[in-house]
């Protein structure tokens, strides 16, 4: 421990708390604010509560936690995109973030012009950009295309250019949020290699990721945020182990704060469900690959913030699919009268009977309401396909002399 304390602090977070205002129905216009005053009620929703940590110069730190635990909020606080309600954050040195690639790109201007704009948004001075421009162009592998307008670029070229700028800013602190999930495998490898290189140069790195592999690969230390607080901080391997153990247990260790377990008896009452296809027909028999819109109205005896989990179970009891929706970490405000809308872009179920379930999950991972099932549908499909889900496969034959 002593060795670490001698190091220079790059980021100091002290007793930081942050809440967001959750509006029930927010009006953005003066007209609305004046005429419908009662619509402007909001509830404070706390994301971080009295969080403190230090990050030392030259180390790379991972931020982990389940969806909506406040990781991204923490990262945004570090970049000063948002400000804490209380507490202080001190960041020493230039910060570059891979939160937004291609910030401020103008489609009509050339790649070269855009490098200047983009780099200047990261706070570089003209001479600094001049000194780096060749390196940036080389990294982007754009070659002579660099003088063409950006609107003529393919999305891959666009990404390469944007990434080259962000990574070549040579910041003292680099913040990365899930960005490594974008792009093909080649590009990801290139990203990781570059990050490794930057790390060797002594840049402080803060990485938010759900991929424990990436975290283990890049980070020396790890911070696990849970329930507005830091649950664990320290050596990456230890923290990741604790985190995975917790996630595996499905959130059973919550009651320590209250001391006693409070059983909530709230439940969903009198619900109605409508399932529409693209043409807004309400139906119960579907074809594979259709677009589905589900509207569920129900009554609930209190008001809480909850995540929504949808599950699809086949007649034989096999769970085909399950997803938790957390409204970007804030949860949904469940009220006396709630109307949820779920959308499925492509119903990739094969022939059979399926049940749709809905669960409301509070911040402590308790199920505080459920409808089992809220819908029962039949899916019709051609007999050629069998199994669990539709996987969009193709078969073709290479053209050889024999079969032409």
């Amino acid at each position: 421990m002593d060795a670490i304390e001698e190091k220079e602090i790059a980021i100091q977070v002290k007793n930081v708390s942050k809440s967001f205002r959750m509006y029930f129905d927010k009006g953005h216009l003066l007209k609305e604010k004046v005429l419908f005053r009662n619509r402007n009620h909001f509830e404070m929703h706390e994301i971080l509560n009295d969080v403190s940590f230090d990050i030392y110069k030259g180390e790379s730190v991972g931020l982990i936690g389940k969806n909506g635990c406040g990781k991204s909020t923490a990262l945004k606080l570090l970049t000063k995109i948002i400000y804490p309600d209380s507490g202080s954050i001190e960041v020493k040195g230039r910060v570059s973030s891979l939160l937004e690639l291609g910030a401020g790109f103008h489609p009509d201007l050339s790649g070269r012009d855009n490098i200047y704009i983009n780099a200047s948004i990261f706070g570089l001075k003209r001479q600094e950009i001049d000194a780096r421009i060749d390196e940036i162009i080389a990294f982007s592998e754009l070659g002579e295309y660099i003088n063409n307008p950006v609107r003529t670029y393919s999305s891959g070229m666009y990404m390469r250019l944007a990434f080259s700028v962000a990574i070549n800013v040579e910041a003292d602190i680099l913040l990365v949020d899930e960005i490594l999930a974008v792009g093909d495998a080649m590009f990801q490898t290139k990203c990781l290699n570059k990050i490794e290189e930057i790390k060797k140069n002594g840049t402080t790195i803060v990485l938010v990721s759900h991929s424990m592999d990436q975290i283990k690969m890049v980070c020396d230390r790890c911070i696990w945020i849970n329930n507005k607080k830091i649950s664990a901080i320290g050596d990456t391997a230890d923290v990741v182990k604790k985190y995975l153990a917790y996630m595996g247990r499905g959130g059973m260790i919550e009651t320590e704060e209250d001391g006693k377990a409070v059983v909530k008896n709230y439940k969903i009452e009198s619900y109605t469900v409508e399932m529409f296809d693209v043409e807004d027909n309400d139906k119960t028999v579907w074809h594979t690959g259709e677009k589905v819109k589900i509207r569920i109205r129900f009554k609930y005896d209190t008001e809480i913030f909850a995540n929504v989990r949808m599950e699809i179970v086949r007649l034989d009891g096999i769970k085909i699919y399950s997803e938790v929706f957390n409204n970007e970490g804030i949860g949904y405000l469940i009220r006396k009268d709630t109307c949820l809308e779920l959308k499925i872009d492509s119903l990739n179920l094969l022939m059979g009977k399926f049940y749709f379930m809905l669960y409301l999950i509070d911040e402590k991972e308790n199920v505080v309401g459920k409808i089992e099932p809220f819908a029962e549908i039949d899916v019709i499909d051609s007999v050629e396909r069998q199994g669990m889900t539709y996987l969009s496969c193709r078969c073709s034959m290479e053209k050889t002399l024999e079969n032409i």
């Binding site: 953005h28 216009l29 995109i81 937004e100 401020g104 009509d108 200047s120 990261f122 706070g123």
Partner: protein
């Protein structure tokens, strides 16, 4: 302040992006910028020189030298409201001193005005009114006073409209009203004595009158009045700066 100075390159490149983006890829690009003042010039000249004659010699020129700076001010009032909202994706994702956005907006409008003034100078020479080079020395002073004022207005408008999106409409109406509260289409002398002082409360009045003195009448503007206007403009700039600095912390949560 110091931090914004460090980000001056960003201001320059945003201004360059705006100007270049506007003029690139269209031969008419440059022309479009002048089309707006020219059309307004045409309409007002028809209204106030033909339909309701004002008894001002070379009325179109009398109007032209005032209309160009007025359009600069009005665009900061109405367009400035969008300076932050339009860049919300950027504001949400990247940190930079937020002041950069309204400053860059006002600056790009300012550069536009200066470019339009080149046309004004050409017309002055062609029409035979000519340019008095000595009096022209005061021109940069007037232009900078207006620049400060416009920047202050942009800071205020851009802040308010993040919180109240429909204020843009109101700013539009306000700018039309203000135009007639400023001697743009008429001359200050034609205003009855008892209203004249009320008009002078509007800093744009002194600025427009000064432009007209320098370019149209080729006489020295009232420097004392200009000095007061400079103070007024700086006041508005500082107020705008402080309001912006206070409110910008919650911008991201308001989007």
């Amino acid at each position: 302040m110091k931090e914004i100075y460090e980000y001056k390159e960003m201001i320059f490149s945003l201004v360059r992006r705006d100007l270049k983006g506007r003029y690139k890829n269209s031969i008419l690009g440059f022309f479009w910028t002048f089309l707006n003042p020219l059309l307004q010039l045409l309409v007002y000249t028809f209204a106030f020189a033909v339909v309701m004659p004002m008894n001002i010699e070379n009325y179109y020129m009398h109007l032209f030298v005032a209309l160009v700076p007025w359009i600069f001010f009005a665009s900061c009032l109405t367009g400035g409201a969008r300076a932050v909202i339009d860049q919300q994706e950027l504001v949400k994702k990247v940190y930079f001193p937020r002041h950069v956005l309204p400053i860059a907006f006002a600056t790009s409008q300012f550069v536009n005005m200066l470019l339009t003034f080149v046309v004004v100078f050409v017309v002055l020479l062609i029409s035979g009114i000519g340019i008095d080079l000595v009096k022209l020395c005061v021109f940069p002073l007037v232009a900078f006073i207006q620049y400060f004022l416009a920047m202050g207005v942009t800071l205020i408008c851009s802040t308010i409209s993040v919180y109240y999106r429909d204020m843009e409409q109101i700013f539009g109406i306000l700018s039309i009203g203000l135009m007639y509260a400023t001697p743009v289409v008429y001359s200050l002398e034609s205003v009855p004595e008892e209203f004249r002082n009320a008009l002078l409360l509007n800093p744009m009045t002194t600025i427009i009158v000064a432009y007209r003195d320098i370019l149209f009448y080729k006489r020295m503007p009232d420097l004392q009045m200009l000095f007061i206007t400079l103070l007024e403009s700086l006041c508005i700039l500082i107020i705008g700066w402080c309001i912006f600095a206070k409110m910008q912390k919650r911008f991201v949560e308001e989007f």
